[in-house]
């Protein structure tokens, strides 16, 4: 049932992790205790569950009857405990049947695939379409009311639940390299199955067992409530039935069996969850220890009192002492350590650095779109003198599209797969610029043509997954410039594209920039792109700005050692790229 139960992780060490989970331990104790009490019922000093004097009927709790007596004077506690035997055994029977059928078939289907997989998959779908209780009613119509037979058949109906998770686990482990290696090494299948596959499915089997037991308990109690079952034996469902008949004068009678079902089921669910969490923990990296002291949060929301340097006149964007951090408490991990730069109106600034240098984080913080958990911990971002870091979401949204726009890196993952390209272009035009539907459509088609799309009508009606990467990136550029932004933030806009398409996309960006006079922040790791399009360049390394200046100056005589090494490292790559470009241009 749980997708997370499919994580292929060996079980070693999980027990220890489970013991660290208070709820997990408590629920395990409750389950064991209930099983123990039920098992010991014959030797416990309990009144007989079946004997009762009518004169003692419907009594409240007393020292003789801790929970009181039922409608015929029988001891409720004793009936609950004896009922636990029936209900726990019934649930166990169903789970064992499901296990015996589902696990081997799941392993075979997942390991060998082929016809076993298709046939069992089909049977799985078939059983999933059946409401279990109706089938059990049909069975009891034929063979008479027998809880044991009903639960065995219900086990068959639960088998697909085991089948699915075991098959998925095995499929996952089958694709692992170490299993391939074992196959290549010529180990027999049986050995691989035991050594690698079984160890992977052990924990999911236990988790699923607890969940299925909950379902089995519910259905058995339901059947007993309906009167399908041995009425001479005490059971929780039977007690609910008897209690509900007297709901008008003794509503408490249904409370006790409900509590019994509820407590056991909650314990099983919590146990399954704790086990799942213990499994998941293993796949996650160890929690970061808080080594960096959190920076003073006093300045978190307020812009720096005195910017390090005044923004030069004519500056459109002015970033001062920007700090960006991640973590539950801001600043647990700082990725940008106080950078400052300006972009003048109509200027193209390249922000260069290797991956992880913090350049994308800087770009996203200007947009106010840092990923979950990230935030600006201190510093100031001003657009045309207006402070952005303190802006509420609504006002920020009003700025986006018309003042600041964004071209992302990965074209294929940045378009909404459920809406057409046309709708994604038209909606901002209508909402931000107030165009009519017809005007917006005409404008969107015009934009698509301007970014070099040959058949705008067709692309307009397409869904993103029907486009190539180059096409999608053109669409994203068209969307970014559609509302005439003053500042375009392009985050590695050519990195994910084919080399041949890269040059075209850069050319489109350059043309659009020249025509509209917008400023551009070009985030890139490629000095070729910088040389192509930028006026000035800022170099970032490990969250800090190490060099900034005119493109020609920086490229010809870099000052900072990091810039020099970056340029040297790129020399070979850029040469081959230039060669490619040259041959490409010659070829066209």
């Amino acid at each position: 049932m749980s997708a997370t139960a499919n994580v292929p992780v060996p079980t070693t060490g999980i027990t220890r992790r489970l013991l660290g989970n208070g709820l997990g331990v408590a629920s395990a104790i409750v389950i064991l205790l209930v099983i123990l009490i039920a098992a010991l019922a014959p030797v416990l000093p309990l009144p007989s569950p079946d004997a009762g004097e009518l004169a003692d009927a419907m009594q409240g709790p007393s020292p003789a009857h801790w929970l009181g007596t039922d409608t015929t004077g029988r001891d409720i506690l004793s009936r609950l405990i004896w009922g636990a035997r029936v209900n726990l055994l019934g649930a166990a029977l169903a789970v064992v049947v499901a296990l015996v059928l589902g696990v081997p078939v799941g392993i075979i289907a997942g390991y060998y695939r082929g016809w076993v997989d298709s046939v069992s998959g089909w049977v799985n779908d078939l059983i999933m379409a059946l409401p279990g209780i109706i089938v059990l009613l049909a069975v009891s119509a034929v063979v008479g009311p027998s809880v044991w037979l009903a639960m065995a058949i219900f086990g068959v109906m639960l088998a697909p639940a085991y089948f699915r998770i075991v098959r998925a686990s095995v499929l996952a482990v089958r694709g692992e390299l170490y299993v391939d290696a074992a196959v290549v090494a010529g180990l027999p299948d049986s050995r691989i199955l035991f050594r690698h596959v079984l160890s992977v499915v052990r924990a999911p089997i236990l988790i699923q067992g607890a969940r299925l037991a909950v379902i089995a308990i519910a259905i058995q109690a339901g059947l007993e409530f309906l009167g399908i079952g041995d009425v001479t034996v005490p059971s929780w469902g039977g007690m609910l039935n008897e209690g509900f008949r007297r709901v008008y004068d003794a509503p408490l009678l249904i409370l006790w069996p409900s509590l019994a079902i509820g407590i056991v089921s909650v314990a099983l669910v919590l146990f399954a969850n704790a086990l799942r969490d213990a499994l998941e923990d293993r796949t996650q990296p160890l929690r970061r220890t808080r080594r960096h002291p959190a920076p003073a949060t006093a300045t978190a929301s307020a812009p720096s009192a005195a910017p390090a340097t005044e923004a030069p006149s004519g500056s459109l964007l002015s970033v001062r002492d920007l700090h960006v951090g991640y973590g539950y408490r801001s600043g647990e991990v700082e990725v940008v350590h106080g950078i400052s730069f300006d972009i003048r109106a109509g200027e193209v600034l390249g922000l260069v650095g290797e991956s992880g240098s913090g350049k994308s984080q800087t770009a996203l913080s200007i947009l106010g779109l840092l990923p979950f958990g990230g935030e600006i911990t201190s510093g100031s971002i001003r657009l045309d003198g207006r402070e952005l870091t303190t802006l509420g979401e609504r006002r920020y949204a009003a700025l986006r599209g018309t003042d600041i726009a964004y071209v992302p890196q990965e074209p294929m993952s940045n378009l909404d797969p459920t809406f057409t390209v046309g709708s994604q272009l038209v909606v901002p035009l209508r909402r931000k610029l107030g165009l009519s539907a017809r005007e917006a459509r005409a404008r969107a088609l015009e934009l698509l043509e301007r970014v070099g799309i040959g058949d705008p009508e067709k692309v307009f009606a397409s869904y993103p997954f029907q486009l190539s990467g180059g096409m999608a990136q053109r669409v994203l550029i068209a969307g970014a410039v559609s509302c005439g932004p003053r500042l375009l933030i392009a985050d590695e806009p050519t990195t994910a594209l084919d080399v041949t398409v890269q040059a075209e996309v850069l050319e489109i960006l350059r043309t659009l920039q020249r025509e509209s006079g917008m400023s551009v922040l070009m985030v890139t790791h490629n000095f070729g792109v910088v040389a192509d399009i930028c006026d000035r360049v800022a170099v970032m390394s490990q969250g800090e700005l190490v060099e900034e200046g005119d493109v020609r100056t920086v490229l010809r005589s870099p000052q900072h050692p990091y810039t020099i090494s970056l340029l040297e490292a790129m020399l070979d790559e850029s040469r081959t790229r230039d060669d490619l470009d040259a041959t490409e241009k010659a070829g066209v």
């Binding site: 034929v142 309906l226 996203l364 949204a397 993952s413």
Partner: protein
């Protein structure tokens, strides 16, 4: 879209036929008991044998199945062992009750689950923690136990709603609604958080996606983005979970109809099961399977409608 519809309809039909065969197979091991069950312990061997012949139980399996399926495709499920009423008529008279339950619960579950799941994903905080607690509770308590509590508190103690009975919609819309409030509430409470949990986790994935960030970078209001991008992209897993939930919900409806004494298919099935009325129980079983198939078909169509990938690649 048409191709998808046809494909799903054919697979649904295959499923119905396969289950009809399986159901007949299921009663085969006990076929000799049936006449005895109908007549009771005191009947003589001859009487039992005569009854078996009368009910057609002594015919070979395939003859019986062929006869039954031939009738079934014409809408004739035979006659009850105990009355002259045709099974089809009995089912038809009780179908509105069960359908009222199922439709109301499915629609309510879908609405609440999506609202709850997306709210929990967006706001996290207390509403998310509450959802996690409720998921555990709803996982653990059978729907009919919830129903017993609702009946005890709101019908028996507080007299807010009728404890038992059913008023047809055509007779009194308000009475119809009042008679269904508690059963519908019990089933919705039991099923809604599970679906909401699926919606929540897929909505969280959407909220962290690149395309959501890009949509936000276009300056669209949050409300609009939630109602379009987030809703549509998290709909597929949520609807799939809903389809699974409906099967469980039909099972729960059987017991819940008994709790509230609703004259639906479920109580018909229980009555038939307790007295071995095979034609009735087979008819009810097939009706449930058809309901499941139709609901799955509708959900598939809904998924295809919101998810162009499914629609265009079918």
């Amino acid at each position: 879209m048409g191709a998808l519809l046809l494909k799903r309809a054919i697979s649904g039909l295959t499923l119905v036929i396969a289950i009809s065969f399986l159901a007949q197979l299921l009663i085969l091991p006990g076929i000799d008991n049936i006449a005895r069950n109908v007549l009771g312990e005191l009947a003589s061997e001859e009487q039992v044998a005569q009854k078996a012949t009368e009910l057609g139980l002594d015919r070979p399996f395939f003859v019986r199945y062929a006869d039954w399926i031939w009738g079934a495709v014409q809408g004739d499920f035979g006659t009850s062992f105990y009355s002259t009423q045709s099974v089809t008529a009995a089912i038809a008279s009780r179908l509105p009750v069960t359908l009222s339950l199922v439709i109301l619960v499915t629609v309510l579950t879908a609405l609440i689950a999506f609202a709850l799941g997306i709210t929990a994903a967006v706001n996290r905080g207390w509403i998310d923690r509450l959802l996690q607690v409720l998921v555990t509770v709803a996982d653990a308590l059978p729907a009919f136990v919830i129903a017993l509590f609702l009946a005890t508190v709101f019908a028996v103690q507080l007299h807010w709603f009728p404890a038992t009975g059913y008023v047809p919609l055509t007779e009194s819309p308000l009475g119809w609604l009042a008679s269904l409030v508690l059963p519908v509430a019990a089933m919705t409470i039991s099923g809604v958080v599970g679906v909401a949990q699926h919606v929540r986790s897929s909505a969280i994935t959407v909220l962290r996606s690149d395309y959501l960030r890009t949509r936000r970078s276009r300056g669209l209001p949050t409300r609009y983005i939630l109602a379009t991008t987030v809703l549509r992209n998290s709909a597929t897993p949520g609807l799939a979970a809903l389809a699974v939930q409906v099967v469980g919900l039909l099972g729960a409806s059987v017991v819940i109809e008994m709790v509230f004494a609703l004259p639906g298919l479920g109580s018909l099935a229980v009555q038939a099961a307790l007295r071995s009325d095979i034609p009735v129980i087979l008819g009810v079983l097939m009706t449930y399977v058809v309901i499941v198939v139709v609901v799955n078909l509708l959900v598939d169509l809904l998924i295809a409608w919101v998810n162009p990938k499914v629609r265009l690649r079918a």
